[in-house]
Symmetry: C2
Subunit: 185 residues, 2 copies
C-alpha cells in the first residue's frame, strides 16, 4: 500500500480532484461511532468558499452519522484501493467496523470529528453548509474547510463508476492549456 505524504492544499483548487467525477469514500463520526460509505453522485457547486453537493440515500447507515454530526470527510481512493471501495459499498456499518474490517486507517482530522482515511491520496474535510435540500432530494451541500492532498500524485488513477459493478479507471492526462483564455483557467 502506498503511503502518501500529504500537504495542506488550497481550497480553491479542490475542484481539480472532484470535478473529474471519481468515486469517493465518505467517512463520518457521531457519538464514538465511525463509518465509511462509497459515493458517486456529487458535484462541485462553488469555487470559494468551496461548495460541494452530494446525494446520500437515507437508507445508508452513514446517513444518520452525517446528518447528526453535520460533518464528513470526502476521501478519494485510487485503483490500488478498488477492492476496498467495492467492499465498503457492499457492506453495512451497522454490522461491522469498516475501517478494521477492510484495513483502512482512520487519521484525526484538523477541523471535523470525522476521520480521514490514510490510504486515500486526497482528503477533504467538510462542514454542512446547507441542509434545506436533504429532505426533498437527499442533497447535502458541504463547505470544504480543509484539504489534504499528496501533490506527488500527478495523475491519480481514480475510479469512476459505470453501474453494473463496472468502473472506468482514470487514464491519460492531456493539456489544452494554450487554447484556454486566461480567465477560464
Amino acid at each position: 500500500m502506498t503511503i502518501f505524504e500529504k500537504s495542506n492544499y488550497p481550497l480553491i483548487d479542490v475542484r481539480r480532484h472532484l470535478e473529474t467525477g471519481p468515486i469517493v469514500l465518505v467517512s463520518s463520526a457521531w457519538k464514538g461511532e465511525t463509518n465509511i460509505m462509497t459515493m458517486g453522485w456529487h458535484m462541485m457547486m462553488q469555487f470559494s468558499p468551496a461548495l460541494f453537493g452530494c446525494y446520500i440515500w437515507a437508507g445508508n447507515h452513514s446517513y444518520d452519522l452525517i446528518r447528526n454530526s453535520q460533518e464528513c470527510v470526502i476521501n478519494i481512493p485510487t485503483i490500488d484501493l478498488a477492492s476496498q471501495v467495492v467492499a465498503v459499498g457492499n457492506s453495512t456499518g451497522d454490522k461491522i467496523d469498516k475501517f478494521s474490517e477492510f484495513g483502512l486507517t482512520p487519521v484525526k482530522s484538523d477541523m471535523v470529528n470525522a476521520p480521514l482515511i490514510k490510504e486515500c491520496y486526497a482528503n477533504f474535510e467538510c462542514q454542512l453548509s446547507d441542509s434545506n435540500l436533504v429532505g426533498e432530494y437527499g442533497l447535502f451541500i458541504w463547505e470544504v474547510v480543509m484539504a489534504h492532498v499528496a501533490i506527488s500524485v500527478r495523475n491519480p488513477k481514480t475510479l469512476h463508476y459505470r453501474g453494473q459493478g463496472e468502473f472506468m479507471v482514470a487514464g491519460d492526462k492531456i493539456s489544452f492549456r494554450e487554447d484556454f483564455k486566461p480567465q477560464n483557467l
Copy 2:
C-alpha cells in the same frame, strides 16, 4: 469523424454515462437561436424518473436560453471532439454560431426544442424539473425524458476536466460485478 448509430436508451441506465463525471456539451434553443456550452459541474440525483442536477453560471450566454426554454440536451463528447470542447468552452454564443463555427451538427430532438449534437455518442433530452435552486446556487434539476446512445461504444473515451486546461481521458474498464450484492448492481 465517427458517425454514431444511436438507439433509444433506457432512462434508468442514463447514470451509466453521467456518473463517471464527463465534461458534457449542453445544447439549447430559444426563439430561433441555438447555443452550446461546456459543463463539468453536474451529478445524478435520482434513478427514476432520471433526475440530473447541474450548475450553470448566469454569465453564460446559454443561461438565458436554458432558463427561458426550460429545456436542454446533455451531449457527451469523446476525445475525438476534444478541440471542439475546448473551443466551445472558450468562446461565447453572443458572437458566433458555435455549431457552424466548430463543425458540430444540430439534429432535431424528439421531445425538446434544443438540438442534439450529432457528433456526440450520447444525447440526453432534458426538461426542467425544479428551478427553485437556480437563484441561490445556479442549480438546475433536470428530468431526462429521452436518451439516445450509440451502444456500440463500449468504453467511451470521455473527457474529465482537471482545471488549468487539463483533462483526464477515460481509461480502462474494470469489473467487480461478482463482488457486488445483486441489489447494488
